[in-house]
């Protein structure tokens, strides 16, 4: 597909750390965190004006699902907007719990594992044509995803256990994958989930749901992660021969690769061949590069993605991680961990380094360690501040724009409504509910007509400026787009 719809769902870790004693339990803290959400949308599971979804998931994880995006930078900006929203909510929560007599700090971490070994995810969605042969897709995609951690992993300080010393691994999620492909998510986490809810025309599309990825802090790493995956999908869809990298045991392979930061570990293919993760990635990158040379770039970031991909593989192959220690999360984090360890003379098993690992993922821009590096120019970025702020309130130009406009307009008129990825319904006009099955459609005449029933929008609604909105609400993402300036309905004529 030349144009593809992408989305990513991020589950966040949440903790309260008081000055002394125990913090609030996660579920109670999550209820505090989501009070402004419930106040805005009367539920803890809502779509918001930027087209994204904000909700409390199983286990009281705050979760943010980006709107459907058809551009990688839009996707990454929407994801970062989600981090900002969580940060705003956390700041608010810190004040509220103080009013209620609890001191200390509230942390929202965009990572994937806690200190007790619980894991929570970063789920990617890619729209693919229904015609894509699923067996061929998984045969190619699975070895790509198993080895993708060396180019897009978030890195992890793995504590010592009975068998192994503390060490640095490529991935947060690798140890928590139990199956290659299946329809379950909680019971037995598969790398590719086959749950087929396309949120689109099911005859034309399916939604590929990938749950193996680590949550990324670096937008540069995110660009490589989503961009490389899209390129591999594109080759699969085009039906070009790609070579056979099918793994004998994908789950054993994903773990073995993660735990050897030297990249020398080999994994066995079904053909009997033994290859390193970098060799498999190299093979796929060469094929992708040839494909792009023949077919041309289908978007403006392709060249950047290919350069980053090649440089990251070189860093793994040569052991010169300095080539990417401002661009790729695991390498950025590894350098930081080593610097802190060297300064204080710490072994990798020291809790301070586990703390560094977790704090790297803190979404607070003044406290999170990735953000400190970014501010100091020690990490690269593909987003501007303006772009992130815009993504907090403005949907990308896809079906998300229809949803955002529908929500904001109905709210301005005080008309109750419900929406999901596909449906748009005014509670008072249930028979006129509109389904928008095309996720690329940034406009829909039927939805426009439905909104026209509410009144003369041009005359009655005034769009609030960014400044006005930032003065209101706990987070700008939970503010009204429009102010109703129309005349109130004329008063009943007096009875004579």
């Amino acid at each position: 597909m030349d144009r593809r719809v992408y989305g990513v769902e991020t589950e966040f870790g949440l903790i309260h750390h008081p000055e002394t004693g125990r913090g609030l339990p996660p579920d109670e803290l999550a209820r505090y965190l989501f009070r402004p959400v419930v106040e805005f949308g009367r539920s803890s599971n809502i779509f918001i004006p930027n087209g994204s979804r904000l909700y409390l998931d199983v286990g009281s994880h705050p979760e943010y699902a980006t709107a459907e995006c058809d551009d990688l930078i839009d996707l990454i900006a929407s994801d970062r907007a989600g981090e900002r929203i969580m940060h705003d909510l956390a700041q608010w929560t810190e004040e509220r719990i103080r009013d209620d007599g609890f001191n200390g700090q509230v942390y929202v971490l965009k990572n994937n594992v806690d200190s007790a070994g619980n894991s929570y995810g970063s789920h990617e969605n890619y729209l693919i044509p229904r015609t894509t042969h699923f067996r061929r897709l998984s045969g190619i995609l699975l070895p790509f995803l198993v080895t993708r951690q060396i180019i897009a992993g978030a890195g992890r300080v793995v504590p010592a256990d009975q068998e192994n010393e503390a060490h640095f691994a490529f991935s947060q999620r690798a140890d928590h994958m139990w199956e290659g492909i299946s329809s379950a998510t909680t019971r037995s986490r598969p790398i590719i989930n086959t749950r087929d809810e396309p949120h689109a025309d099911a005859a034309a599309h399916r939604r590929l749901h990938v749950i193996v990825g680590d949550s990324n802090m670096s937008s540069t790493t995110s660009l490589l992660r989503y961009g490389a995956t899209d390129l591999v999908l594109r080759m699969i869809e085009a039906g070009v021969p790609i070579g056979d990298y099918e793994l004998e045991n994908p789950i054993a392979a994903i773990r073995a690769i993660s735990h050897d930061i030297t990249g020398r570990t080999t994994v066995r293919l079904r053909s009997g061949q033994e290859l390193t993760a970098a060799q498999i990635q190299r093979g796929l990158l060469e094929r992708v590069t040839r494909f792009v040379t023949e077919q041309g770039s289908h978007h403006r970031h392709v060249e950047t993605i290919l350069e980053l991909w090649a440089r990251t593989l070189e860093a793994v192959e040569t052991g010169n991680h300095g080539l990417i220690d401002q661009d790729i999360d695991w390498a950025i984090k590894k350098r930081l961990v080593q610097q802190v360890a060297a300064r204080h003379g710490l072994e990798l098993s020291h809790p301070r380094l586990a703390q560094i690992d977790m704090s790297y993922h803190d979404v607070n821009p003044q406290r999170g360690l990735f953000h400190l590096l970014l501010t100091r120019g020690l990490a690269t970025d593909v987003l501007s501040e303006e772009r992130i702020t815009r993504a907090m309130t403005s949907p990308p130009p896809t079906r998300a724009a229809v949803r955002g406009e529908f929500l904001s307009t109905a709210r301005a008129y005080g008309a109750e409504c419900t929406v999901d990825w596909v449906h748009h319904k005014l509670i008072d006009r249930p028979l006129e509910a509109v389904m928008v099955k095309d996720p690329f459609a940034a406009q829909d005449e039927r939805v426009e007509a439905l909104l026209d029933r509410l009144g003369d929008r041009g005359a009655q609604l005034r769009e609030l400026s960014g400044d006005e909105r930032s003065q209101r609400g706990v987070t700008v993402a939970l503010t009204e787009k429009y102010a109703f300036t129309g005349e109130a309905a004329p008063p009943e004529p007096p009875l004579i």
């Binding site: 286990g59 700090q105 806690d114 586990a354 977790m358 303006e386």
Partner: protein, 67 residues
């Protein structure tokens, strides 16, 4: 959706051409000590933002499983 901000990942220090990167290596020493100072300052800042009791912080970070 008019202006697309930075699309290319940018390195700090701005738009280094290969030549300026090369000439940078000639006067290595002042830069090296600058880097050491920068690193010290970063690590100092990290010490101030992190909770002092690392072990308590790490142990206290327990969630329920997700998805």
């Amino acid at each position: 959706m008019s202006a697309q901000p930075q699309k290319q990942p940018h390195r700090p220090g701005g738009d280094q051409t290969p030549e300026s990167a090369d000439s940078g290596q000639v006067k290595g020493n002042p830069q090296a000590s600058e880097r050491v100072e920068e690193l010290d300052s970063l690590l100092d800042e990290i010490d101030t933002v992190l909770e002092a009791n690392a072990e308590e912080f790490v142990k206290g970070f327990v969630q329920k499983g997700g998805q």
